[in-house]
Symmetry: C2
């Protein structure tokens, strides 16, 4: 809670001048908040700092002049049970601001990393991986148009001691100075070291820079923070007004092309199974999936299955065969269509991050984030820069999933144009299935070539070793169902082996 | 997990016929799901039952034919930390379906009550209160147009024992038969008694009836459940097509009018404070609020403060003075304007329920659920039946908050028409404040009379003893700020006294 609330009783002349400046800056900030909202600029403010550095007081000064319709303060405590069962950035992705919002973080993704480092519960290798994930996250946000401001409030050990003592002396606040707080105070020097490493890993180099603020005088610190916010937001507002394009990442590490991936042209669509073969094979595989589903739950392995493919390639029926014997408490099918207004106002990966399964659960995406490099590319729903950037961002997201031990399966359901035509016509003539077919399906069909090109490029750029694509030959639905089951079984068994070895 | 998955290998003739019927019913259900979505009928399905009654299997059969875009399965476990800090219906309100959705609950609000009863952690009086809250909740949902279906799967003690043994004998599922499950099995008879009470409290009488289903044969049970769903949804679809109005509650308990409440006509708007008086009074009260905010957090008291009032009555500036020294980690201002698309697709109270503060936190609603009986009534945004019904529903919601120990403050900010005109004109002439004024404000002003009538009726119908209204005389902003602080301080001190006595 606030350490040094600003006081209004009989201020001295210098104090008065500072208070007046704070008020002025606050008014400017309120004006810029409205401008940024009008221009659709999402703003993400991170306030980090040691115990008793006055984060609460400064955030309160920051939000007082703002229009409450336009911001949200998130206080980051230790992750709860639900959050612990997701990749560590999941809870922050969920809270990233939409285009008309300012998200203010009191502590942030840095908190977990600093705490883990101090408590010695993370290896240096994992910490480096985590900082890489953080850099990617911040860069993806920035490339998506989000303005990120990061403040670090500094406080000397002596000053910290004095403030904690003051808290202890007030009966209303004494309980806040817990043993944990005192322990952290004792570890002051270790914290400083961890903080220096944090700066080294995440200050600048294309990412958003840190502003270090001495919190010795809360008023001066407040003024410095507000001043920096006004300057930075003003600059972005001007850029957007002048039509300066959103930044594009310039210093991404080089990604190899995955030339060993599948290809539509060499796929053998004649593969099939007879009714009898299918009957015989289906039951045992479904039983296997049912058993593995229990194992996955017990071992807390998250499973993500992506279904992409041509219209009418049989994804729906395939998903039904896959899930028929699963426990509905442990799986969910997420159908992905055009984003709604809320989703459009966020980063395009936001809606997929938020649907990431709890560890031990299975999420099946019926269409997915690959829409960015398929339909959005072909139909011109995003810019060329955006879909080209997306390969990289998707690889990073899937890396993130992998770091968390996810079993990831990606299917492309392939049929040929003749087979698609047959199925469209069958739907047209079946009153029960007519609803499945619309004008858009016919239009997509006319763009077979550009889609084919997009699919092949998608394979080359995202068939990473730990996130491989599998083409499902779909002309024979029975064959497709057995193959999909087999691939899922193998992927899960592999993860179980990794986890239990 | 599934106890008795339907098998497809070599079924007998009778089995085959049942499977065919299940498939047919599934297709009908899928058709009705689309119809209900087109007509905007939200559907809420509750599947309750004892351990090993086969809830999972039946839900999976239910969802297999459905379009995944149209439903969501929620599995209700014990409430997590976040949920425990809210009224017990909060987590269910959050999951109520929107108009284009079917929400399927595997266990539900009944789970908590059954468990609490068996474990002896709830008094009979509290249990009765909770069942009353449940009846109100289901009735509010129904009156809002939601179709509720409740299934209870029965299983004999002998059959339960056999199924648990089967689970234990399968290495993939043995771990699921935990000590807790075996303990519940041993308490079988106690459960039956608790279940009978549940039926007595919540079966019919205007509320949605229970369908009790023997789960001896999973196939027969599935068929019975699907059959009932098809019949019930078909009936509602027909009603809506024929324009039958949504049900209105017929057997609500009589609510007294609160004639001792405040009244706009007798309010003395001449009250004021000088600058010097104000200065002197403000600091100590803000300090008091700051200290109480700590206490509220420590004692885990939720605080809800409603700001209603005329346009330009000074709500914004007042909220700033109230929160100026609070810790931003412990309070949130929720500005309420016209509902967005997602909100419109839910019950009108949904967006307020979801914003209910964590115990120990303060939520300030800048406008609120009272919009239903103010702007929505006056502007005709809802029907007369709807706003008349709302008084009752709002009283019930506030009762719910009270049962949870909430400190609730409701302000009406009052100014006279001359003062409003002066403030509108001042805004018009101040470039920094012009954005605060729009055409709608002028239009609202023309409807002063009907608004006044709505406000006075609101007082009479919702000034309940534990949820009283306070008029803030707003012509003098200084007076209004001090009075609002005093009222909040008193309400919180009262709750602290209740809690610590």
């Amino acid at each position: 809670m606030s350490m040094d609330a600003l006081t209004y009783d009989e201020p001295s002349k210098a104090k008065k001048a500072t208070l007046r400046k704070i008020e002025e800056k606050g008014e400017e900030l309120a004006y810029l908040q409205r401008k940024a909202r009008e221009l659709g600029i999402p703003i993400l403010v991170v306030v980090e700092g040691l115990s008793a550095a006055g984060k609460g007081t400064i955030i309160n000064q920051m939000i007082q002049p703002l229009d409450p319709r336009g911001f949200k303060v998130s206080c980051i405590a230790s992750p709860n049970r639900d959050e612990q069962m997701r990749p560590f950035l999941w809870r922050f992705w969920r809270r990233t601001p939409s285009a008309d919002r300012m998200a203010i973080f009191d502590r942030s993704w840095y908190r977990s990393l600093l705490d883990a480092k101090i408590n010695g519960v993370i290896s240096e290798a994992d910490l480096e991986k985590a900082y890489a994930d953080v850099r990617n996250f911040e860069r993806q946000m920035r490339d998506g148009g989000t303005l990120i401001l990061k403040f670090f409030l500094e406080v000397s050990k002596k000053e910290q001691a004095a403030r904690l003592a003051a808290l202890q002396n007030n009966p209303a606040t004494a309980w806040r100075v817990s043993d944990a707080v005192m322990e952290r105070h004792a570890q002051y020097n270790d914290y400083l070291k961890a903080v220096e490493q944090m700066f080294k890993e995440t200050d600048g180099e294309g990412g958003p820079p840190w502003l270090r603020v001495s919190s010795k005088s809360t008023k001066q610190a407040t003024l410095k923070v507000l001043d920096h916010m006004v300057d930075t937001i003003q600059k972005r507002v001007d850029e957007v007004k002048e039509g300066t394009p959103a930044l594009t990442a310039t210093n991404r590490p080089h990604r190899p092309l995955f030339r060993d991936g599948p290809s539509l042209t060499t796929t053998d669509l004649s593969r099939q199974l007879s009714k009898e073969e299918y009957r015989e094979m289906l039951g045992s595989r479904q039983q296997k999936i049912q058993d593995l589903h229990h194992e996955v739950y017990r071992l807390r392995i998250p499973v993500v299955i992506v279904y992409e493919g041509w219209d009418a390639a049989g994804k729906g029926g395939n998903i039904r065969r896959l899930t028929e014997r699963m426990d509905p408490r442990g799986y969910e099918v997420i159908p992905v269509s055009a984003p709604n207004d809320v989703e459009k106002a966020h980063h395009y990966l936001w809606r997929f991050w938020t649907e990431f399964p709890k560890a031990g659960h299975v999420t099946i995406f019926d269409r997915s984030w690959y829409g960015r490099v398929l339909v959005e590319r072909v139909e011109g729903f995003c810019t060329e820069t955006e879909w080209k950037q997306a390969y990289h961002e998707i690889n990073e997201m899937e890396d993130n999933f992998r770091h968390f031990g996810t079993a990831l399966v990606k299917f492309w359901f392939h049929i040929d144009q003749d087979e698609q035509l047959r199925r469209f016509q069958a739907r047209e003539h079946n009153p029960k299935k007519q609803w499945k077919l619309n004008q858009e399906d016919w239009r997509n069909r006319d763009k077979w070539k550009p889609y084919e090109e997009a699919v092949n490029e998608m394979f080359i750029r995202t068939h990473a070793p730990h996130a491989p694509w599998t083409i499902i030959e779909g002309n024979c639905k029975r064959y497709a169902r057995i193959k999909a089951l087999d691939v899922v079984i193998e992927a899960i068994e592999q993860k179980i082996a990794d986890k239990t070895k």
